[in-house]
Every structure is written in structure tokens, then in C-alpha cells.
Symmetry: C2
Subunit: 201 residues, 2 copies
């Protein structure tokens, strides 16, 4: 029995371990790359090297960028009294796209998850507390913008418990029905949040 | 509004164009690579370069490997009178895994698909005909193992029409119910194939 050459097997193995890919999709990718000649592979090689060399983590907020401090931390026009705590750098970009937030960010680098050994020490929580204690001007409000799921909620609760003693207002993104939702098919937790958080018109 | 650095945008763009990936999964991949440090990126860089440098296409059968001719074409013990025609190199590997085939292969490099401009000239059909005409010893049977879908069937029919005049037996993989199938839920085309191809026990 003849199987794939080693180079192909190894590339499939590595790709299959990336998030969102499995053995079959990795196989498909590798054969696509082999079949479609060298242009795509060259582009990928170049772009991955540049990721590796040029992308750095902002030492203030934990966001990623090409500079340290990142453009948001370096921007004096951003409201320094407002701090939005997110799990991942992607979340910064999504909130920026709303155009409705002018404060700064703090990226935790994940959410608490005891099953996967993600304990508070693994996240950028100590730097967050340090940042709140030493910030000039003082930070007035911390908006916790972790996902409304099990890990996100417990991270938010953990943060609230540890941040409130610092004399800072701690808020959480509103929970409720998403735009375009059908009440008939909404789950009861969402609907219950939407009821509790109802707003006057 | 602050968006992603250029390096990240470009890597997302390139990955999103690969089969099976879209903008969101590409974004997830890139952030995973950025977050998980340089080890994975280095491994990927190395493996993609080695794919690019060391993998070649067998000039006899069109399969991919590290040598030309590939190990199957070079193996004198394989039955040279039996030729299995497949669409892609992956198909060779799947048929090899059955352990039930001892002949040789011919990889077309795709299937006919007029909508995507895959015409007979784009596939390795002319080399196949040439190979059948010049093979020593003569090829006795061609097994067409393209997928039993619209494109695979029309490719098989096209091949049968062009290969039969060469005085060679042309066969096609059996169609029928797959192992574990439920007759109740089988589609009528499969069931009809299973009936037509019924075998004595």
C-alpha cells in the first residue's frame, strides 16, 4: 500500500491541528496547494513570515499590532477614563467597527476555563488591576465585554468581584434579543435577559 | 476606527481564498497563529517550503510524490495490464487503502466541468490515450473511478466514448447502497443503481 509522501503527511498533520480544520479539510488544503502551483504557497510563506516578524503585542493593552504601544493606546484623543475589557484582539476590531466607542481597551488573552487550565494567572488580569491602580487620569468605568456564554460570564463575574474594590464602576454589555431575532425561536435565557433589561421608549 | 494591521489583513485574505475556508475561519486561524507564538508558524513555514520544493508530479500517471516516476509506476510488481483512472491524487491514496487493487493509476487532475472551463484539454486525457496506445505490455482493462456525481459521470462517459475505440475493456466502479445505509432513506437513483447491479449470492 502506497500512502502520501512524508512532506504531505506532515503538512496535513500540522494544518489539522489548527482551529476549525480537521484531517479531511487539511488534506484538501494541502492538495489544493500542491495542485495550484507555487504562487499561493509563496504568498502564504511570505505573509506568514511577515506575521511572525512584524506583529507584536501592545504592552499596555495586550492588543496586537505593528507598534508598541498600539495605535489606540498611543492616541491621546481616546477617552482614557473608559476601559473596555475583551477576551481576544479580534473583539477590539469588532467593537471598533461599531464606531460607538471612544475609550481604550484591555485584552485578557482568553477567558477563564478551569477545564482547559486557563486560570486567572494565565490571563492579563494582574496587569489590568495594575493599570487601573496606576492610571493617570483615573479610569472611571470598566466595560466588561466578554461573550455572554459560560466562560465569558464567569470571567466577567470574577473580574467584577476583583475590580469593584478598586473604586471603579464596572459594567457589562447589555444582553437581549439580537437584531432580526424571532421571539418565537428565542431561547429562554436570552428572552429573560431581554425582559430584565427592558428599556423605556 | 482602528482595524487590523496590514500583515494580518493580507494573511486573512490569502487564507480565506483557500478551499474550505472563509473570511471568519481565516481570521480565526491568523489570530490563533499570532497568539500561539512562533512555533506553529515556523513549522508551517518549513513544511510549506518543503511541499513547494520536494513534491513533484509523476510524468507517467500524474500522481504526486517525491520521485518521478512515482513509487507505483516504478513498482514492477504492480499489474501493468490494469489501469485505474481517478480525478485527483487523493483518490489514489483512498483506493490504495482498500488493499484490493494491484494495478496502476492514471490521475486526470480533475473532472470535466464546462461551467468552470474544465474542458478535456485541461485534463490529462491526451496522455491517457497516448499511454494506452503505447503501453508494453498492453493494458487490458481501464477502471474509471471518478465520483458518481454529475461531473464524474459525464467525465466517465466522455472517457468511455474515447477509450473503447482503442480496443480496451472499460469498466466503472459499482454503484449501489453504501455499507450501513438504510433503504428507507436511500435516494431513488442509488436504489435504482443497486437494483440494476444486483449480484447473485
Amino acid at each position: 500500500m502506497i500512502t502520501y509522501p512524508d512532506q504531505i503527511k506532515k503538512a496535513i498533520d500540522t494544518l489539522a491541528r489548527l482551529p476549525g480544520l480537521g484531517p479531511k479539510s487539511a488534506e484538501r488544503l494541502v492538495f489544493y496547494l500542491v495542485k495550484n502551483g507555487n504562487h499561493t504557497v509563496d504568498t502564504l510563506l511570505e505573509q506568514l513570515s511577515s506575521l511572525r516578524k512584524e506583529i507584536r503585542v501592545c504592552s499596555t493593552c495586550g492588543n496586537i499590532g505593528t507598534t508598541d504601544p498600539c495605535p489606540i493606546c498611543a492616541n491621546a484623543k481616546r477617552d482614557a477614563s473608559l476601559l473596555c475589557v475583551v477576551a481576544e484582539p479580534q473583539d477590539v476590531s469588532v467593537i471598533e467597527k461599531t464606531g460607538d466607542y471612544s475609550g481604550r481597551y484591555h485584552v485578557l488573552g482568553g477567558v477563564l476555563n478551569p477545564v482547559n487550565q486557563i486560570t486567572p494567572e494565565k490571563l492579563r488580569i494582574a496587569p489590568l488591576i495594575q493599570r487601573i491602580k496606576t492610571a493617570q487620569p483615573k479610569i472611571a468605568e470598566i466595560i466588561i465585554a466578554t461573550n455572554p456564554d459560560l466562560e465569558g460570564e464567569s470571567t466577567a463575574m470574577y473580574l467584577a468581584r476583583h475590580l469593584k474594590p478598586l473604586n471603579v464602576k464596572v459594567t457589562r454589555l447589555a444582553k437581549g434579543l439580537p437584531m432580526g431575532a424571532t421571539i418565537e425561536y428565542a431561547d429562554e435565557v436570552t428572552l429573560s435577559s431581554a425582559l430584565k433589561g427592558r428599556q423605556s421608549m
